[in-house]
Symmetry: C2
Subunit: 298 residues, 2 copies
């Protein structure tokens, strides 16, 4: 969990609570409890944010607080298309010492999400699990492909599903075609693959099958920060709720991820994802059905 | 109808038959007969291509052949992403004198597609129609927004549906958000709006409703030339077949447009769209259903 400073064409937030573990936990908490989080924070991370997560059923036994260091800080500026951004500041702070430990209480988890982090640390978490989960989802980024590809390949062999964006899928495989990239990635280990395309939706690949979920068309996208993590949290949270990894349920889980991500971008930071009601979520699920479903007789 | 010279990362075609009227007519001919075309060609346009269109049920009474001039010629080069291209040569040739005349035989047409052309000529065609069609679809491009906006605004007031790409929708309205752009365009005249996003699919707007159809994920896109026109032909051809402009049928028509466009890009020029069988089309419709439909109970 972290602090972010964000500039978009619609405004700026100088210091907002961020981090993939925060976004994913909130999104998953709408579907399943408990959510068991592992992360690292500094002395400056607000207690009220921790309390808010706990109130949503997020267990924080795996969160280490470093008393004499600051939390990870990222500052970025989005371009007008909101699909690309410049990183202005990255202060690792506590993240430089992160050595994730799986609490005894978390053992036996069936649905595991490995957030975007140094592949060696993702491997360490997998090594600590005493029982093989039903589903391990991996997030990563181009930075690790450039700096730790050998380790990343090891992680890929041990996960069930990889979640990357289109540029990352291309970089990982040297294929421009996403269909070709998908085939190659699935030969590297993961049986399932999700390629996220930002405002252009997401593709799910499994064996010869492919499923597409659009992003919800919004009047305004105020801040895309955390949308991918919120998507991931909604996706795995829904699968944990139905306790299934069938392809039919994965389709519905992707829709759920898109629903949650569509809220995330409506306000800066975690403001929107914190305030959601069941009614908000159900209403948007209905809108998603109308957006994509058509009569199948031609 | 025209000649195109095309370069893509996959190869090149030095002289292939092109033009929006050709692509749209082929696509529509899979659904409805006759298709009645209006266009202009030079002495160099191949008779066998005209015969091939006639054999598919395309009437060419509205096609003027200029005996001492060449057909329109366009040469372009696509970038790796296939969504952007550079125009290398544009030879107007016969198109400089085009004054479309609606043959008496075509009067009473219920479904009219105004291809991308100078707005004054599109207005002239509308003026020649003795009976108001059930649906008039308009295609246009950024060039006319820059050079003939006043005329284009007149056309917009007299059509039912506008079909543009995302960049054109943004230019027409000065809104980056496609949802906002859609609202503004529908205030300019068209009740229905389709925004095409190339490989990222297409959006249909009508009143407060929105529907999204993905592009079919292909291993390789060899040549995007004509994909938008093929989409348009499949769309209006399907509506003409079912003789309806209900929103439910428009959804299915968009799927049909995407199906036809997905074939178009598989080979250079019109090679793929000419050789299709009913079985090919039906197979891809099934694949489209699998691509987007999900169980609606959560």
């Amino acid at each position: 969990m972290a602090f972010d400073a964000i500039e978009t064409p619609f405004g700026k937030a100088n210091k907002t609570v961020g981090g993939s573990a925060m976004y994913a936990a909130y999104a998953a908490s709408y579907f399943v409890k408990p959510v068991q989080q592992i992360s690292i924070i500094g002395y400056d991370f607000p207690q009220e944010e921790l309390n808010s997560l706990t109130a949503r059923g997020v267990q924080l036994d795996g969160v280490v607080t470093v008393k004499n260091k600051k939390s990870f800080f990222w500052k970025g500026r989005y371009h007008e298309d909101m699909n690309s951004r410049d990183t202005l500041v990255t202060d690792l702070n506590v993240l430089a010492d992160f050595d994730p430990r799986v609490p005894e209480k978390y053992q036996g988890s069936e649905f595991v999400m490995l957030g975007n982090l140094m592949p060696k640390l993702q491997l360490s978490v997998l090594d600590q699990l005493k029982k093989k989960p039903k589903l391990v989802v991996l997030d990563t980024m181009n930075f690790w492909m450039d700096t730790a590809m050998a380790d990343l390949k090891q992680v890929l062999k041990r996960v069930d599903l990889l979640m990357v964006n289109d540029a990352e899928a291309r970089e990982l495989t040297n294929h421009y075609s996403l269909v070709k990239a998908a085939k190659k990635i699935m030969e590297m280990g993961p049986k399932y693959l999700i390629i996220k395309k930002g405002e252009h939706g997401a593709l799910l690949f499994y064996k010869g099958k492919v499923f597409f979920a659009p992003a919800f068309p919004l009047e305004d996208v105020f801040d895309p920060t955390g949308a991918g993590d919120t998507f991931a949290g909604g996706f795995i949270g829904y699968l944990a709720k139905v306790n299934s990894i069938s392809f039919e349920n994965m389709k519905k889980a992707i829709i759920m991820g898109s629903v949650m991500a569509s809220f995330c971008v409506e306000k800066f930071g975690n403001a929107r994802i914190k305030e959601l009601t069941k009614a908000d979520v159900n209403k948007r699920i209905k809108q998603f059905k109308a957006l994509t479903n058509f009569e199948t007789t031609f």
